[in-house]
């Protein structure tokens, strides 16, 4: 405990300074400064997951803009989907979307989610996220940089 405390004092605040707030966008929810996020891995290679994890880590700290990952789609305002949608995940993904209360948004994270990326045409893939649920925001990249994920979330929260 003592060691942990010393580390805390030595490191201090490591979150990077926040940039300017995003311009109002169509995808934004009512400007409430709060977005609860449910993440669904529809068949990703886990590269995007690592970057999302980084986005919510201390350095990028997406939570400071009012975004928070929650356990249930019932609690969520936005669905973060990664990966091309595989056959087995297509129905669960749709169920997850259906389970979210309105108003709701879907963010497709990474090239696979946007257009199947390297997996396009593979036998186990149904299609991009947009083929299964309506997508409001897209974050390009393979994998996308945490800054881009944070920027997309900030667009939703409006902070």
């Amino acid at each position: 405990m003592h060691k942990l405390l010393r580390t805390m004092l030595r490191v201090g605040r490591i979150a990077e300074p926040a940039g300017t707030a995003p311009a109002p966008s169509e995808a934004a929810l009512a400007p409430t400064g709060s977005v609860q996020v449910r993440h669904v891995d529809a068949g990703s290679c886990n590269g995007c997951e690592i970057e999302i994890g980084a986005a919510f880590g201390p350095v990028y700290d997406a939570e400071r803009y009012g975004a928070r990952i929650v356990a249930s789609p019932r609690h969520a305002d936005a669905l973060l989907v990664t990966g091309p949608v595989t056959r087995n995940l297509a129905e669960p993904l749709q169920n997850t979307y259906e389970a979210m209360p309105a108003p709701r948004r879907v963010v497709a994270i990474g090239d696979c989610a946007r257009g199947c990326g390297a997996f396009a045409g593979a036998y186990g893939v149904v299609g991009a996220v947009g083929d299964v649920v309506p997508v409001d925001l897209e974050v390009p990249g393979c994998p996308p940089r945490p800054e881009d994920v944070v920027a997309a979330l900030r667009e939703l929260t409006g902070r």
Binding site: R74, E91, P92, L93, N95, T96, A99, P101, A102
Partner: protein, 698 residues
């Protein structure tokens, strides 16, 4: 009023039973139910008379073979007359519907763990509707009602045995359907008669020493009893009445007999009959013998703690709804015994103010328990009648199929879980107040050690009680049905709903306005001068206030506060989220595609953490059968899991006793060899010994 009531009880039962016997079969259930309710009304009248402050005595010389029949009613008798009468009214009205044709309760239980009989399926009419069963119910109620009115040893014992026999007959009603009924009957007969022997011996000992068998004579002569006689009598009555009350470890008949009896009889037994055990203890120890010594109080306190804790622990892991309720009866009797024991301890310490408070708590809890346990057993009966099930693991979803029953059971559940504004909370609160005020500077060290433990036990009991009844209500009545029988449940007939509604109404009244019980309780304590110096409860309108110690609580204010707060919250939320819709959506099963009731938590899985925490006490037996596929043993075709929580206390204590009795029986069989000469010799030796004894002592 007392006399009218008791005439109604006695004549109503006799004439009514005859009427039931001659009534045509299609009218029989109506006649039997009405007669039972009428006898109950008689009890209520007599009870109100007794609680109103009047007393009444009647002597009928030569009515009984060994002496006169003597009846007397005072406030203490009145309290129990009222309690039993009120339960009988509800159970009687309910019985009209329960024993009416139809329903699935007469079938063999599909999920029962007991052996099935080959001829079980043939029956269609409920055995509870048979002539014998229907005619016995009013007689049983009348016998129960007359027990607290008995005022001499002979009268008391005759009525006590009449009550035991009629109830035994009723427990055995469905003996053709299930082997477990016969086993339950055997245990009940054994325990109740062992109890009778203990009570009879105690009474005989006391009566012989005071030179009279009327209660008045005992009361007058009690002061001159030798300490040995008093000690033996106190221990024997504790055993005898304790076995009737379901005190652990004499409770073994209760979780067997209560589930197997027809449900309105279960309610009568669990809500009313076991209370007579408590009545017997109060009457003999605190009234007839003029107060109990301190060691006896501590003993009762310890046994009460054991009963409360063991009862609620078994209830919290029980899966059979009626068995759960039976164990919960043991728990509640335990709480009453804690009150009685603490009253004896406080009285022996000279603190009569507190003794009065805890005694009042015990009597009040008897009423509260009677009210909510009537609702719950009747509710369990409704479920059983409509689904044929009492296994919680197969129930569920009844809130939509049986909305009225569910709402009424919810009232009873709130009382049983001892949460405000339920009625059980009130008496537990009074009990806790009495207990916590006993510890303080200048008190005795024994109290300072034993009472905190008792408070801890009451608190743990309350916590586990909440777990028990969340399980019973949440798994049994809410969520999705776990079997087709539960999915096809239908609402009970009107008389059953009325019967439950009456009891639920009493629950609400006792829960919201407990102060109405203040004056009657004060009168009851007036009969027991040993534990009373001032009236324990102040007679105020909405607030329950204790006299002599600082303590006040108002369930009505809490309830009104909750309603007001709820209204305000609804109004505020409506305003804040105006125009926002509500949608009914498929339940979120974490992406699961098929939703099946088999994914739900069951009663067994709900209680699993508690089973694990109390593993050392409960020691559940678990069977896991894994059937692999024929092609490969690494692929599994099915897994069966079965868990039983046997009564460990029973398994520890009773088999050695039964084995000893059997061995003794086998040994004494050697005396009977079938030779007439030997028997004549026994007679000669016996006579000689008797004469010698007479010669020596005379």
């Amino acid at each position: 009023m007392i006399q009218t009531g008791l005439w109604l009880v006695a004549l109503g039962a006799l004439v009514g039973a005859a009427a039931v016997v001659v009534a045509p079969e299609r009218r029989r259930h109506v006649v039997a139910g009405s007669v039972t309710a009428l006898v109950g009304v008689g009890g209520v009248l007599a009870g109100l008379g007794g609680l109103g402050g009047s007393t009444w005595t009647a002597v009928a010389p030569g009515l009984l073979p060994l002496g006169e029949a003597r009846l007397a009613v005072d406030a203490l008798s009145g309290a129990f007359l009222l309690l039993i009468g009120a339960v009988a009214v509800a159970a009687g009205v309910y019985g009209i519907g329960y024993t009416a044709p139809g329903g699935r309760h007469a079938q063999d239980l599909p999920a029962a763990h007991d052996q099935h009989l080959p001829d079980a399926a043939a029956h269609h009419a409920s055995p509870a509707a048979s002539r014998t069963a229907q005619a016995t119910v009013p007689l049983f109620v009348a016998a129960m009602l007359l027990v607290p009115a008995a005022a001499s040893v002979t009268t008391f014992l005759v009525l006590w045995e009449l009550m035991a026999l009629t109830s035994l007959l009723l427990v055995l009603t469905e003996h053709r359907l299930r082997a477990s009924v016969r086993e339950a009957g055997l245990w009940y007969a054994g325990m109740t008669h062992a109890g009778l022997v203990a009570i009879m011996t105690a009474f005989a000992l006391v009566a012989a020493n005071v030179g009279g068998e009327s209660f008045d004579a005992i009361r007058a002569g009690a002061a001159d009893l030798s300490p040995t006689v008093r000690t033996v009598a106190l221990v024997l009555v504790l055993l005898g009445f304790g076995s009737k009350a379901g005190m652990v470890p004499l409770h073994v008949w209760l979780p067997r007999a209560h589930p197997e009896a027809p449900s309105h009889v279960s309610a009568l037994m669990s809500a009313a009959m076991v209370k007579l055990g408590v009545y017997g203890l109060i009457r003999v120890a605190f009234d007839l013998l003029g107060g109990a010594p301190r060691w006896w109080g501590l003993l009762v306190l310890a046994l009460g703690c054991l009963s409360a804790l063991y009862g609620v622990l078994q209830a919290s892991v029980a899966v059979d709804l009626k068995r759960l309720l039976a164990y919960s009866t043991s728990e509640n009797v335990g709480l009453m015994l804690i009150g009685l024991g603490a009253a004896a301890v406080f009285a022996a310490d000279g603190n009569r103010v507190l003794a009065g408070v805890v005694m009042a708590a015990a009597v009040l809890h008897a009423f509260n328990h009677a009210a909510f346990k009537t609702v719950l057993f009747l509710g369990a009966g409704s479920v059983l009648r409509s689904t044929g099930l009492r296994d919680l693991d197969a129930l569920g979803g009844l809130v939509r199929r049986m909305p009225v029953t569910t709402a009424l059971v919810a009232v009873g559940t709130l009382g049983a879980a001892a949460l405000p504004p339920g009625n059980g909370f009130v008496s537990e609160w009074v009990l806790l107040q009495g207990l916590i005020h006993s510890v303080g500077p200048g008190g005795s060290p024994v109290v300072a050690v034993s009472i905190p433990v008792a408070v801890g036990v009451v608190a743990l009991t309350a916590g586990l009680g909440v777990a028990t009844f969340v399980k019973a209500f949440g798994v049994g009545f809410l969520a999705l049905p776990r079997s087709t029988a539960a999915a096809e449940a239908t609402e009970s007939p009107l008389p059953m709903r009325v019967g439950m509604g009456l009891a639920a109404g009493v629950c609400l009244a006792l829960g919201l306005l407990p102060a109405v019980a203040a004056r009657p309780l004060d009168r009851v304590l007036g009969v027991l001068p040993e534990v009373r110096s001032i009236d324990p409860l102040a007679d105020s309108a909405v607030t329950l206030r204790l006299n002599g110690i600082a303590g006040s609580m108002s369930p009505l204010v809490i309830a009104v506060g909750l309603v007001l707060a709820g209204t305000a919250v609804v109004a505020l939320v409506r305003r804040l989220s105006r125009g926002v819709p509500r949608r009914v959506a498929p339940a979120w099963g974490c992406g699961a595609i098929e939703r099946d009731p088999r994914q739900e938590y069951t009663a067994t899985s709900f209680a699993e953490p508690l089973t694990r925490v109390f593993d050392d006490v409960l020691r559940p037996e678990q069977d896991v059968d894994v059937t692999p596929l024929a092609e490969s043993r690494y692929l599994i075709e099915s897994v069966t899991f079965r868990q039983r929580v046997p009564d460990r206390l029973e398994a520890r204590i009773y088999p050695p006793l039964l084995a000893a009795a059997t061995a003794w029986g086998r040994w004494s069989r050697r005396l009977a060899r079938g030779s007439v000469h030997t028997y004549l010799a026994y007679g000669f030796v016996g006579l000689l010994a008797a004469l010698l004894l007479a010669g020596v002592t005379g």
